[in-house]
Each structure stands twice: as C-alpha cells, then as structure tokens.
Symmetry: C2
Subunit: 187 residues, 2 copies
DNA sequence: CTGTCCATGTAAGGCGTTACATGATTGT
DNA sequence: ACAATCATGTAACGCCTTACATGGACAG
C-alpha cells in the first residue's frame, strides 16, 4: 500500500488537510501515483488509527471545521523504513498493448486509427511533462544544491524518458504497419 | 475490463481450458497484462453468462472433467469492436518513484541501495525480454509476411524500448546522486 | 514417496473508482 | 444568479491478489 507512504511523505513536509493533500497529489505525483479524494480521506483515517498521523480539528466560525493532519514520530520512522526498503518490481498493465497484440483481427485502417490515437495521447502527455520540467530547470538553477528538489524533479525525467521511448516505438510501428514491411528492430 | 478481451483474443486463436489460458497469459502477455488463475476462471464464468463464450465439458475416464471454452459469434464481434476502439490513456502507478520523490528523507547510502536494487531488477527484465525477442526475430525471418506474429512481437519491442530508457535514466540518476551534482537533463 | 503437472474452483480481503451528499465563500 | 473553490465525507461496486481446497497422473 504505497498511497499510505505518499501521504506520510507529503505530511512530513508540512501538516495539511485532506483537501490540500489531494491538491498536492495532483500538482506533483499524479504522473506516477494518481489518488482520488475518497481514497485520501479513507487512508487518512487508517493512518490515524495506526498512530502514524495525528489529527487536529480547527474550528472556524461560520465555516465547516477543518482537520489538519500531521505525522507522528512513529509515522516518520515508518516512512523512513519504507523509503529504505527495496521493492519488488511492479506489475505493469497496459490495455493498449492488448489491442496491438491481437491487432491482426482488425484491418489496417482501424488498427492505424487506434495507433494514431495513442500517439496523440502520448504526444500530449510528453508536451505536458516537458513544460513542467522546463519550469523546474529554472528553479533548480537558483538552488543548485537542493537534493530534495532534484530528486522530486527527477521523477519527471523518468516520465519523459520512458514515454519518449514509447512514442518513438509507436511511430515506427505505425510506419511498419502502413508499409506492410514487418521487420523487427535490432537492440 | 481488459482481461475479458485478452481472453477473447486467446480463445479466438483456439478453444482452450482455463488452465491452458493461464499458461498462454504467462507465456505471452504477462509483461503487459499479468493475470492469475482465479481471475481467469471468474472471468470465463462472466463471459459465458454474457454469451460471449461457450463451454464444452469433456468427460475423461479416470480424470476430472475438462471445460473447453470457445468464442461465440457475439464474442468475436465484441472483440473486434473493442480492438477498434481507442482507449483513454492509462493511469500509471510506480511505487518506486514515490521512493525517489521523497528520497531526500533518507541518506545517500540507503537511497543508492534502493536505486541499485531497482537497477538490477530492470537489467534482469531487459535481459529476459531481449532473449525472448531474439527468438522471435528468427521466427519472423521464416515467415516475413506474418502480420499476426509481427504485431504480437512488437509489444515486446515496446517493453524493451521503454525499460531501456528507464534504465538509462536510472543509471544517470545514480551517478548524479553519488557525485552530488544535481543537474537536470536537457530534452 | 515426494513433488510437480494437470485442472478445477471458492473465500476473503485490499485497493481503487464513481457517484452521491452537504454547505459556506468567492469570483464573474 | 451561477459556477468554482474550499472542505468534509459515505456508499456501492469492481478488479485483483492471496490463500485455501481437491484430486488424479507421472517422473525421479
């Protein structure tokens, strides 16, 4: 259960409400760990039950109460332990590849439409990642010794590098399907 | 629910038992769609209920009955329909990247151990994919017009290309963490 | 005689998604 | 006047995993 640790990670930067956590996820790690709101609230309840986070109710006149969560010493310990633990390699699931794998059952025309669609999606994603990355490059110039900033931004590099490779493959696949020359690559 | 369609895909090649399907998954698409046995049996029951596959019970003296599943015309239609439908881009989840993102909370030594571990896993995976790929290269030489074979093998190319890119990134990350020079890449 | 392969499933639980529900404040 | 933002959650469902259960055949 990695969501738990992502939450501990964010809260170790600073105490937050569930709502703010949701925004933190969307702003920063959505590209490798999306989380939705109900999941965040449920996990916060679990973490509180396990004594890994504490909750502070802030009453506000005229508005709903706010619950601010912060990491306990036990939570910080557990986070560090997990961060230091090598994980088994992750299972990968990509429905689009099922379509390619069984693609012989549809004609070129339809197959290429599916491939082009995927290509557009990938190009959009890459453009997004690159623009985010550009901003961080500027930021890191002004704080070149920030290990924290560097590590967090490096996850975007991962997204760019692997999606770029996937895109190149996809473009080559489209060409080969179109030309009917079913040659494999050399690695 | 993509598992459903992967099963229809396999059964459209030839009728099989649940057990044989499990082996087919493990042999061929595990790298982008792992499936376990209980899941396969449950999904076969669902597909039968929906009239997309038919089941034939084969009684064998001395041994347990065998249930052979085959695609119905409705199933074939549904498969073709799905194969032709562009899918929204898939959410990606990679717990290892959570460790990198919050890596500033552990010392270099431990962080590098985690990174090196991932590197080993990736190298193992790549070696596996490449050896499988090599075999298919041979096979495709003897049947150079096989669109079906080409498309299915191309999914391995995807795995090799994107994991190769991830590995290169990881090696560079390890170097940068070790040297303490937190420079970003140019894309 | 022990383990692996063939072949079938059930049970329980965890993780994640989607939809629903409430209600005040702030911006257009 | 209406939509978006802030802020909290619940309910129901779906998919996947892990563990459990059965039992014959065959190989070392």
């Amino acid at each position: 259960m990695s969501l738990k640790y992502a939450i501990l990670g964010f809260l170790s930067h600073q105490p937050m409400t569930g709502y703010e956590l949701k925004k933190a996820f969307d702003r920063s790690i959505r590209h490798f760990w999306p989380a939705n709101q109900s999941q965040i609230y449920r996990t916060l309840a679990d973490l509180t039950g396990d004594g890994l986070v504490d909750m502070e109710v802030i009453e506000r006149e005229e508005r709903l109460d706010m619950k601010v969560y912060h990491v306990t010493p036990a939570g910080r310990e557990e986070l560090v332990r997990w961060l230091s633990t090598p994980l088994p390699i992750q299972d990968y699931r990509e429905p689009f590849l099922i379509q390619v794998y069984f693609g012989n059952q549809i004609p070129d025309e339809k197959l290429i439409a599916v491939l082009e669609h995927e290509r557009n999606e990938l190009e959009g994603l890459l453009a997004l990642y690159k623009s985010l990355y550009g901003r961080y490059q500027q930021q890191l110039k002004s704080q070149p010794d920030s290990r924290a900033l560097f590590l967090s931004v490096s996850t975007l590099e991962y997204g760019i590098a692997s999606n770029q490779a996937a895109l190149e493959w996809l473009k080559s696949l489209i060409e080969r399907v179109q030309s009917g020359e079913y040659r494999l690559k050399d690695f």
